[in-house]
């Protein structure tokens, strides 16, 4: 049974706090294992990759090449149902159009005293994209990670994907092909992260690594952070649906289950101001659960982490406050005045506005990115975007006149900070040094 909370209960604030701080994921401590694997790949390069792949993925790189050939990529793409290819093309095109709007603009200007200042954006030269193996190997995630990198102007996008017995999911290869990624290696785990960060004989290192992975991958990413950039560490996914009583309970139940089927640690939350409707949704969830191939996963997520929160009024300040405190990765707003309500929300990875915008559209074909901040991190971070694949260089240019105007203040602060050489570097140009 999911938890039922009622904002009118005197004990609600206490219960809600406990709910907010419930840990959904116990990360196993695999730091030491990841560290050993990274050290080994740094020391032995390709030989270490071959050993780990033999052990974990049952591949022999002496017979199956580590790099996936162009022929293999094209063959995989040809094998996928053309209707699926067409759907992925639509997704890619919409992701591309939306992300093209995110390219930041350079800004060069001269200030009132004649100092030239500039901010110039350039793409990261090489980026690694980790794609998980097994059931979490999603072609949609390949598009969501690779397309923004390519829109940003990254010249080299390298994909790594663990391949049990050498087999890579053809949908993943097809998506890579559609995105324009052609450098793909059949490696995974901490060893793949190490290879991307430090390079091996066969793999040139990259400057940043993105994409989700298991606990070993996450630990390895944390450890190589600094040598390369990394994206956020993704936690289990969540959806918050704010819905009034005018919705079809079956629609909302389907949305809650779409989140729950991802992972037993996923979380689906309904906030409603209609108690009967809340119960009807919970009943519909139970009915629909039976229809799913992933019923066990979804049932377990809904039972352990699901919640129905009853509020006096769906769009008042208190409901907004609850939503901001939950800071959901995905927020669906299905009520009268959904657009106005969406304007009041401060903390959410993505908002899906109105009764005809199920979150699933954003997973695939909306155009916006589905890599979003989980576990309340929407309070301080954003979904993946073109900005994650560019960096800014600032530029400053003074002439002798500007240096005379600003120099004395710089010298004064340097002296106060006890940094003589800082002061001298300016004073020597103003003929002021002792």
């Amino acid at each position: 049974m999911p938890v039922f909370l009622n904002a009118a209960d005197p004990d609600f604030e206490h219960q809600f706090r406990a709910f907010l701080t419930t840990k959904r994921e116990v990360s196993p401590d695999v730091d030491a294992v990841a560290r050993d694997i990274i050290d080994d790949v740094r020391a032995r390069g390709d030989a270490a990759l071959a050993a780990y792949s033999r052990r974990f993925d049952q591949i022999d790189f002496s017979t199956t090449p580590m790099r996936v050939s162009m022929q293999e990529i094209e063959a995989a793409a040809a094998e996928v149902d053309p209707a699926v290819i067409e759907a992925l093309q639509l997704a890619r095109d919409r992701i591309r159009s939306h992300h093209q709007r995110q390219m930041p603009e350079d800004d060069f200007y001269t200030d009132p005293i004649g100092v030239r200042l500039g901010s110039r954006w350039t793409a990261i030269e090489a980026v690694g994209l980790y794609v998980p193996g097994g059931t979490a190997s999603y072609p949609s995630s390949v598009l969501m990670n690779a397309v923004p990198a390519i829109v940003a102007g990254v010249e080299r996008v390298v994909m790594v994907v663990p391949a049990l017995k050498g087999v890579v999911n053809p949908l993943v290869l097809a998506a890579a092909h559609l995105a324009g990624v052609s450098e793909i290696y059949r490696i995974g785990g901490a060893q793949a992260v190490a290879a991307l960060a430090y390079g091996t004989e066969s793999i040139e290192p990259v400057s940043k690594i993105v994409g989700p992975g298991n606990a070993y991958v996450a630990a390895a990413k944390r450890q190589v952070f600094g040598v390369v950039g990394i994206d956020m560490i993704a936690g289990p996914s969540e959806v918050l649906v704010m819905a009034d009583g005018e919705n079809d309970p079956d629609w909302i139940a389907a949305d809650l289950l779409a989140q729950a089927e991802h992972d037993a640690n996923a979380q689906s939350i309904l906030i409603t101001d209609d108690a009967q409707f809340g119960q009807a949704v919970a009943d519909a969830v139970e009915r629909q659960l039976k229809l799913l191939r992933r019923a066990d996963t979804a049932a377990s997520s809904w039972r352990d982490f699901g919640a129905v929160i009853l509020v006096p009024e769906i769009s008042d300040a208190r409901s907004v406050d609850l939503a901001n405190r939950i800071a959901a990765e995905h927020l669906e707003i299905a009520c009268e005045g959904a657009e106005a309500l969406s304007g009041k929300i401060r903390n959410a990875g993505a908002i899906f506005v109105g009764r005809h915008t199920p979150e699933v559209i954003g997973d695939y074909v909306g155009g916006s990115n589905h890599v979003l901040p989980t576990a309340r991190s929407a309070r301080f971070s954003s979904g993946l975007s073109v900005l994650d694949f560019v960096k800014r260089t600032s530029l400053l240019q003074l002439g002798p006149g500007q240096l005379r105007m600003l120099g004395p203040a710089a010298i004064r602060i340097a002296e106060a900070e006890g940094l003589d050489a800082h002061g001298r570097s300016v004073s020597i140009r103003l003929n002021l040094q002792d």
Copy 2:
């Protein structure tokens, strides 16, 4: 003696690679200590803070309050030399003007098929600013961290600073006052990071922590990453100067020393196409070293990590390539055609263009930020900016017509990914479900 490299040497590439990968900092492994302190602060709150502050900073919170009072802040500001206050005001105003240009704009639009898409930026609600104690306690860094947060619209900026025997550097309090920060606690180390991330009885938690610190602070920031956001982990500072023979060797020597005096692990590199000039700069460094209060630090940095690299031509493609591979935090370009050369540089935190723009101007009064990516991380990251204090929410809104157009593709991808509930969440709204 610094290292002298000559790009004309047959062995240059090998030597340059070794130079690039020289580790300047051995981070002590203090993870376990930091973890224990964090756990203790989570468990005991203020009592733990009191115990650590007594032990490490010799403060007794029963007599010296943990929070710095407004009166104390104002008294400190009044005590500082008015000329220094005026210089800090100039710095603050210029930082503010420059950073106001960085505010990202919301983007709402309707695409050709009628889907509404939006990207909305909001400020992080509460941010913690770590300020180191001792000699690294710089008022300029307070401004560089606090002003962009306040420009971004962060409502609550909380400063923590370790205070030996209760004393906070008055310059730091004066800078906080000028920046508009009034919530200041006399705490430091991993315990201060824990208090900011998790809160205590006296300190409300924040959503992001920025600012430099020692190894314990860095380890604690890595560990609370995810619970809160963090900025990059700052490494030792570096400058690369590209200078032709037309410069005064004393000017360039002063710039190299301004970097070297920061830290024995700091790095100063000169690239020049004039061997005699390179030698003259090295000689000038030795002469000027004697004049510095921090001569020992600067001498040690220059001896251990300093470098003079001789190239055939200062602004040709090969020199640009070397600069991009060094990816310096600070890059000074002091040669003919400096502006054109700056346009070819891809990897640098900040570029100081021309003979009258010493890097020190950027440390204090240029207006751009002095918190910049160190240790080659300019290949994948940017200096601190307003963007570090805001986050983006994406919005998506479909009507029934758009759902009919995009829904079938979403259903198709969901089916291919084996996610039934994803498919149902769309099909149920299109009356397509089984």
